[in-house]
């Protein structure tokens, strides 16, 4: 009895599943998933990673303070009143980040960390709508991590010099 119900459910699921969709554009239709996404390596500052190279064996100082000896080039402009290094960087495993729950996250999956506060951006990013996407509209796409465009310490999108303005018509059409 239970088995037959399950089989019936399975059949129903198969009928509702992607197989029932009308054939879509060639070559391979892109499906949105909640799986881990392929991203290029995180944009580390040259020579800094892995962090354990220096931090291994160093005593952990959890006191919130202004850094003087190292990393003093980092200016935090990202809710800095409420936040400092160890809210995102993990003190026990220096090569990782952690979520608010304490669960460790690799730098490759840092979008999970960003998504804790910016949930709607994470949702749009997964859908391919927030952020730069290159590759194929009907095939594999290349995603970027949040940190490729937004410096996590100062996330406002950096200003750029614009390319030259078009020439006014009289000169362009000469």
């Amino acid at each position: 009895m239970r088995l037959t119900t399950l089989a019936a459910l399975g059949l129903a699921a198969a009928a509702l599943g992607p197989a029932a969709d009308p054939p879509s554009a060639a070559p391979a239709p892109h499906k949105r998933t909640e799986e881990r996404l392929e991203v290029p390596p995180p944009p580390f500052t040259e020579g800094l990673f892995p962090c354990t190279t220096c931090h291994e064996g160093m005593p952990v100082n959890r006191t919130r303070r202004v850094l003087k000896d190292m990393h003093d080039d980092i200016v935090l402009k990202h809710d800095e009143e409420h936040r400092w290094c160890l809210d995102c960087h993990d003190a026990t495993n220096r090569d990782r980040l952690h979520l608010a729950s304490g669960a460790p996250v690799s730098f490759e999956e840092s979008y999970l960390l960003c998504g804790q506060c910016h949930g709607e951006k994470l949702r749009d990013w997964r859908a391919g709508v927030h952020g730069r996407r290159t590759g194929s509209w009907n095939g594999p796409k290349r995603y970027l991590l949040c940190a490729h465009c937004h410096n996590p310490h100062q996330p406002r999108f950096r200003a750029l010099a614009p390319k030259p303005a078009p020439l006014p018509p009289s000169r362009a059409a000469r």
Partner: protein
């Protein structure tokens, strides 16, 4: 008023039937538009184009005749809340699509608008040049061909040199364009551009991946415009402007695929089209992701 009615009508009828007969003879026996010629004859014409362009550029230029993919209708969406007005798209387009460098010809125009005024073409400025963008109090609306579903431009063409392809791309046959520029007058978006002089395209700048309805080199005296990068998109790639945009403001995909980015945007975001009141029904959408 009442008496000479009859002969007038018959004369007009006679003239009309004569003209249509001539038109029939012309289309049946004369040269055809590239999309009308049989595939094998199109190949011959394309070989000839490849030979000519390769010789001019001093390197092998490929001309594709890839047709529309079945089940595909292309659409574009641009995030007005993300565009920073950097014009990377303008120049990526020029390089990809073999636009004339002199006289300068741009298919994309980035308009700077004031946040106070909203989307308002009468106060838009395409010539902004601050040291860095975005500028305080401004937002940017890049405009190119809107690939309308109800295009005013193709209707006015007296030679049938411009039409809509099955995947929604409005294209131009440069061999049939007589340069009358009616389509430019008809387009409400200023998206069509005329080659007033012989286009100058340095040989080393030629993009050798071309399509016969898109970025193959153009002669003087024809109209050209954005084709959603037909040479790239029919091969599965994103348009060049999508690939280059550092802000990720540009989105592209298949309107008929319910899992596409474009459908997600239309279903979840605030979307607008330019000059909606003109009923051109653009396939180019603008949206606010935030």
């Amino acid at each position: 008023m009442t008496t000479p009615e009859k002969p007038k009508v018959s004369r007009r009828l006679f003239a009309a039937s004569g003209a249509s007969a001539a038109a029939w003879v012309l289309t049946a026996c004369g040269p055809r538009r590239l999309h009308e010629v049989p595939r094998d004859r199109l190949r011959v014409a394309i070989r000839e184009m490849e030979r000519k362009y390769s010789q001019q550029a001093g390197k092998e230029v490929k001309v594709s005749d890839a047709g529309a993919l079945p089940g595909v209708e292309f659409a574009y969406a641009l995030d007005i809340s993300r565009c920073i007005g950097c014009r990377r798209c303008v120049y990526a387009c020029v390089e990809e699509n073999n636009q004339s460098r002199n006289p300068q010809l741009h298919w994309i125009k980035v308009l700077s608008m004031e946040k106070e005024k909203g989307v308002d073409f009468s106060h838009a400025d395409p010539y902004y040049h601050p040291a860095t963008v975005p500028e305080e109090g401004h937002f940017y609306v890049p405009v190119a061909c809107q690939q309308c579903k109800n295009p005013p431009c193709t209707k006015v063409c007296p030679t049938g040199a411009t039409w809509t392809e099955p995947d929604g791309i409005v294209v131009i046959d440069y061999d049939w364009c007589i340069g009358c520029r009616y389509c430019m007058a008809a387009c409400p978006y200023g998206a069509r551009h005329f080659n007033w002089a012989e286009p100058v395209l340095p040989a080393d700048a030629v993009n050798t991946d071309t399509h016969y309805l898109g970025n193959r080199p153009r002669p003087k005296g024809v109209v050209e415009k954005c084709t959603f990068c037909i040479q790239r998109t029919r091969a599965g790639k994103y348009p060049a402007c999508v690939d280059v945009c550092p802000a990720g403001a540009r989105k592209f995909g298949n309107l008929l695929d319910k899992d596409s980015e474009i459908r997600y945007i239309i279903e979840h975001k605030r979307v607008l089209v330019l000059k909606e009141e003109l009923n051109t029904v653009p396939r180019f959408f603008y949206f606010y992701a935030t």
